[in-house]
């Protein structure tokens, strides 16, 4: 069992938990994720390690409540215990050799982006962060991004904060004005990652996306997380989660994320009932 030590509500549906998990804290690098099971009847869900403290053995997870399991986790409080956590899983991302990097986070994807922002910054690269959300109160981690970026841009769909529009609008301007960007990293909803990928493909700039496929074991055993990258079958949990954006079959990914929509809606409505 893994004890929750602290909780913070970043936005109404985005929560941050600090959890005691020494073995994982010791080993995590930017880009790794964990898989957890909230309780004995729970499913296994993957979440990025947003932050870690090697000395104290604490990891941070940040998640958006989108369905049953994330809601259940969101209801937990300091002192409560998470049944199982395994990790760190997946490849961490390779930071060597990049001078100027633009990192884009959409929605809770910003949480997944943050450890990479920090890692590139600490590595000495020039870091430009762009974060986007539907509306102002969903913008998260602004301060954290500020501390580890040379520049931060914010976009909201409704214009209630920062640029009105999409993160890709800002990216496009940057790509036009600044010719020395050598890497773009995008993490967020699949349509956003696809839009970024399409844009950077035009400018022929190396782009990495972190894929959020459905997972079960996270060790390469089940194949639920398979994606097509460059025409080949890859398992996101062991071959990824980061891939060359220009090679990813996004249409297939979007479809596969809907595999269990009917079943998910069923337990989700159960959870809503429990709430009422």
């Amino acid at each position: 069992m893994y004890e929750i030590l602290a909780k913070e509500v970043l936005a109404p549906t985005i929560k941050k938990l600090k959890v005691k998990a020494p073995l994982i804290a010791k080993k995590t690098k930017a880009g790794n994720f964990i898989i957890l099971r909230v309780d004995e009847k729970g499913e296994r869900i993957p979440l990025t390690v947003a932050d870690y403290e090697r000395k104290t053995g604490i990891i941070t997870i940040i998640f958006q409540e989108v369905g049953y399991s994330t809601k259940l986790l969101g209801r937990m409080e300091p002192g409560d215990k998470i049944q199982d956590i395994v990790g760190p899983l997946g490849h961490h991302i390779d930071l060597e050799g990049y001078q100027k990097v633009v990192l884009l986070g959409g929605g809770s994807g910003t949480a997944l982006l943050y450890p990479k922002v920090r890692a590139f910054y600490e590595q000495g690269a020039e870091v430009i962060s762009i974060t986007g959300a539907r509306t102002k109160n969903l913008v998260i981690l602004e301060e954290e991004l500020e501390s580890f970026s040379d520049r931060v841009f914010i976009a909201t769909d409704d214009g209630s904060y920062g640029h009105k529009g999409y993160v890709t609008d800002i990216l496009k301007d940057l790509l036009i004005q600044e010719k020395d960007i050598d890497l773009v990293v995008a993490i967020g909803p699949v349509p956003m990652m696809k839009a970024v990928s399409d844009l950077t493909a035009e400018y022929e700039i190396e782009t990495i996306v972190s894929l959020n496929t459905i997972m079960v074991d996270g060790t390469g055993m089940c194949g639920a997380c398979r994606v097509t990258v460059g025409g080949e079958r890859k398992f996101t949990c062991v071959d990824g989660p980061a891939f060359d954006a220009h090679q990813v079959d996004f249409e297939e990914l979007i479809n596969r994320l809907n595999f269990y929509q009917n079943e998910e809606n069923l337990v989700h409505s159960q959870a809503v009932e429990e709430d009422n």
């Binding site: 060790t219 390469g220 194949g223 596969r256 079943e263």
Partner: protein
């Protein structure tokens, strides 16, 4: 009294009833049935049956103890060689192993060794107390080994067998398992109706009682490396990580929604208990028409599971013929009784979809040609014979490769071209102090073969540590 020619039958749930539940199919012998069956054993002096058992269970001796009305003693006799008898009695392919060699099988049916083993094990699972075995255990301890640390990676049958034997000699054994539950394939692969998980739990408990510590949620190679285990003073390491990487067909449409690897399908249902969805939160979607590609034990398990989840039509699609199906005949028979339809001599060509979901599978009819190198008649495609099988779900059960997660993250551990770990005849790998066994060495095999390898490795680990302690 003349000798009963046939095996004493084992009662089982009726097919119409069992396809609506996940309860175990055969009930196991009653005491009376077990005694009748035990009487069929001729107590052969040369014991050919024992040779057929990969771990050398003293078969006539345990049957004799049973006949003498002493099931506790029978259990101890079995357990001297096999730590998981309740499991092996259920899932061993006895017809190819111990029972294949039984003298009774020459003219009549072999003695039902597996069923008797199951009877003895079940009888004692209920009775077993920690006390009864303590004094026995003291005797097995080896002074030079006591309290030295050994790490066992994975908790499938190879690892459980190795851990038990190592612990019995007084070694301090820690098992590291990637999943949140122990047992490997016994837990996530073989379904409840063939091997109830309470049995796996009880068998694991009895191994814990030997002093084995179990750490779950640890992926060796990721959470901790082999180097770090040595740094933490583990003196030797056993690797039993299995062959868990699912193969796919490499035909169009395999990434449509509705296509599963057998591993994913069975893991969702067994490990995650999706058959109790929505009480348990892991979903599985099976629909009404399901095809399983392949015809081994895994395919039969997937087919019978799909039926129990409510699918109306379940097909096994296989490109060879009935005689060539690799599954145990008992399982094929069970599947047939449960209404699984066999579409033999059919090769999947493509999976077709509509709105991102499986709609049909295109199959090509095959016929048997000349014998190939393996002595099996090779299936050849029949021209213009393609047809569509309408489906909601396709489950691919054509085998597993070794999972490269550990080997890829471990230095100096030699592997074979197909990914299996290289070992010598004593299960020793290319790294000093590191041994391996089970499916990660042989590719997909059987529970008892994996256990045999685990036991052999344990013996050699003990020898290695004894040798070292002398220096």
């Amino acid at each position: 009294m003349s000798l009963q020619k046939k095996k004493t039958p084992m009662k089982e749930q009726k097919a119409e009833k069992r396809i609506r539940n996940f309860d175990e199919v055969p009930f196991g012998y009653t005491k009376e049935e077990a005694l009748v069956e035990a009487d069929r054993c001729l107590q052969c002096k040369h014991k050919p049956c024992v040779e057929g058992c990969p771990v050398g269970v003293p078969i006539p001796q345990f049957i004799q103890a049973l006949k003498n009305g002493n099931p506790e003693e029978a259990n101890q006799i079995i357990k001297s060689k096999n730590n998981l008898p309740a499991i092996c009695g259920r899932v061993c392919p006895q017809e190819e192993q111990c029972e294949a060699k039984c003298v009774m099988g020459i003219k009549n049916e072999a003695v039902a060794i597996g069923r008797l083993e199951r009877y003895v094990a079940d009888y004692n699972l209920e009775k077993e107390t920690a006390e009864s075995s303590k004094s026995e255990l003291e005797k097995l301890k080896i002074a030079e080994l006591t309290d030295k640390k050994v790490a066992v990676i994975g908790s499938g049958p190879a690892s459980l067998a190795a851990a038990a034997d190592l612990a019995k000699s007084g070694l301090k054994v820690t098992i590291f398992e990637a999943l949140h539950k122990t047992g490997g394939v016994l837990r996530y692969g073989i379904p409840e109706f063939r091997l109830p998980k309470t049995i796996v739990e009880q068998e694991v408990e009895s191994i814990k009682k030997l002093g084995v510590e179990i750490k779950l949620n640890v992926v060796v190679g990721k959470s901790i490396t082999i180097e770090e285990l040595f740094e933490q003073n583990y003196k030797s390491i056993f690797i039993g990580v299995g062959a868990g990487l699912p193969r796919f067909l490499n035909i169009p449409g395999e990434n449509l929604n509705g296509v599963y690897s057998a591993n994913e399908f069975l893991t969702r249902v067994n490990l995650m208990k999706a058959f109790k969805y929505p009480e348990y939160k892991t979903p599985v979607a099976v629909g009404n028409k399901v095809a399983i590609v392949g015809a081994g034990n895994v395919a039969m398990d997937a087919a019978r599971t799909a039926k129990r989840l409510g699918a109306e039509d379940v097909y096994v699609v296989y490109r060879r013929s009935e005689e060539q199906m690799p599954a145990r005949s008992e399982e094929i028979h069970h599947a047939q009784e449960e209404g699984i339809e066999f579409k033999l001599l059919n090769n999947p060509i493509a999976i077709k979809g509509e709105k991102g979901k499986v709609k049909a599978m295109e199959c090509q009819k095959m016929e048997l040609g000349e014998k190939d190198n393996s002595g099996r008649r090779r299936p050849l495609p029949i021209k213009n014979s393609n047809w569509d099988l309408e489906l909601d779900t396709v489950i691919i059960a054509i085998g597993q490769n070794p999972n490269p997660l550990l080997t890829a993250n471990t230095k100096d551990l030699e592997t074979k071209s197909w990914g299996g770990i290289k070992v010598d005849s004593g299960q020793k790998t290319s790294r000093e102090g590191v041994y391996a066994g089970g499916d990660i060495v042989t590719g997909g095999a059987t529970v008892i073969q994996a256990m045999g390898a685990g036991k052999k490795a344990a013996q050699n680990i003990k020898n290695y540590l004894l040798e070292k302690s002398k220096k």
